[in-house]
Symmetry: C2
Subunit: 204 residues, 2 copies
């Protein structure tokens, strides 16, 4: 397996999926990895709903697109511009094109339920990348609609839908801000400088 930095750097969010089938065992492998994540008081608040059925996918896509149409009307203008630049509309074809969806819920009344579950999603998408599978973390604008259409108990909140499959075409990764602008040493705003050998120095 490559180094984690290579895996993490290689992974890009994919929004256009081919309909080629994938091995469900790879998806379950990634869920197994996610289930090893730490959680508040070890309550393991996550639940995974794997969706392979086309009829179920269509129902999910339908309620998500209804909410997205509304959201795209009211989004802040900077966000609308970003969405337009990226070619992202209210249409969510990945919800029916991707061969597998994994819906990740958390039990609302557990301590740090959302935080723990998002941490586990980090594990999950790295494990998918390890298995050569593309993914996206998509959170519907009105997640409670998804609960309703799928008869998921109200005690659980949908954190994200992860479409999984092979990309329709290769996509460049979104650029990252230089780390020195986001990473400080001992005092807020104090950048760290690093030599090419990885040695860290205080700057200034």
């Amino acid at each position: 397996m490559p180094k984690l930095l290579d895996l993490a750097t290689r992974r890009a969010s994919i929004r256009a999926f081919s309909r080629d089938p994938i091995h469900l065992a790879d998806v379950i492998y990634a869920i197994r990895v996610a289930h090893e994540a730490p959680s508040g008081a070890n309550r393991q608040p996550w639940r995974f709903l794997i969706v392979t059925d086309d009829h179920v996918k269509s129902k999910i896509r339908h309620v998500c697109e209804l909410a997205e149409r509304e959201f795209h009307k009211i989004a802040p203008s900077w966000f609308k511009n970003w969405l337009r630049d990226k070619g992202i509309s209210w249409r969510k074809p990945f919800l029916t094109d991707a061969p597998v969806l994994v819906l990740i819920f958390f039990k609302k009344d557990e301590p740090y339920a959302s935080e723990s579950t998002w941490l586990a999603i980090g594990y999950l998408i790295l494990a998918l990348e390890e298995r050569g599978l593309a993914s996206l973390t998509y959170t519907p604008s009105r997640s409670e609609d998804v609960n309703e259409v799928l008869n998921v108990p109200k005690a659980y909140c949908l954190a994200a839908i992860i479409p999984i499959g092979h990309p329709l075409c290769r996509k460049a990764k979104e650029p990252r801000t230089p780390l020195k602008r986001l990473c400080f040493l001992n005092t807020w705003g104090n950048p760290l400088t690093e030599s090419e050998e990885g040695e860290v120095k205080l700057s200034g």
Copy 2:
């Protein structure tokens, strides 16, 4: 590097750290991995404050323990029992014993700022494990006190403090619920069964 499942399974939350120094380059490696995580609208809402200075660590420990003392009085009884069973008190020696702390903040006004940052914390702690470093995800009861004592702008919220180092003694990993109770196929509550060869079957 081992498979991600091995890394994730091996990693256990550590609360007692030796004072042995570690290589800061390994910590920066893990932050670099975290910075490759996806984020809402690619806004990279995370900020990393690496703390190696003993005086800064003491200040952090002091404000955290003040708040923890209060929290341990008012916590729900099941949680108090869990804390007692685990030997967890309001005392947080790991905040001064661990050779390095990484404080992870997120910019509050970015979309999905907390969610994206916790996902990135998943990347971070796996990368620390890859480098043979132990860690804990600790969120103070009153994180705003930490902002204040460290002069961190109010626009940023502290997600977690990650003490990093070598464990004082080996610790068994917390047990996991069998996956089949948390993972469903196509319909909520419909367990999936998996043969030993990793082949997935619908049960029932």
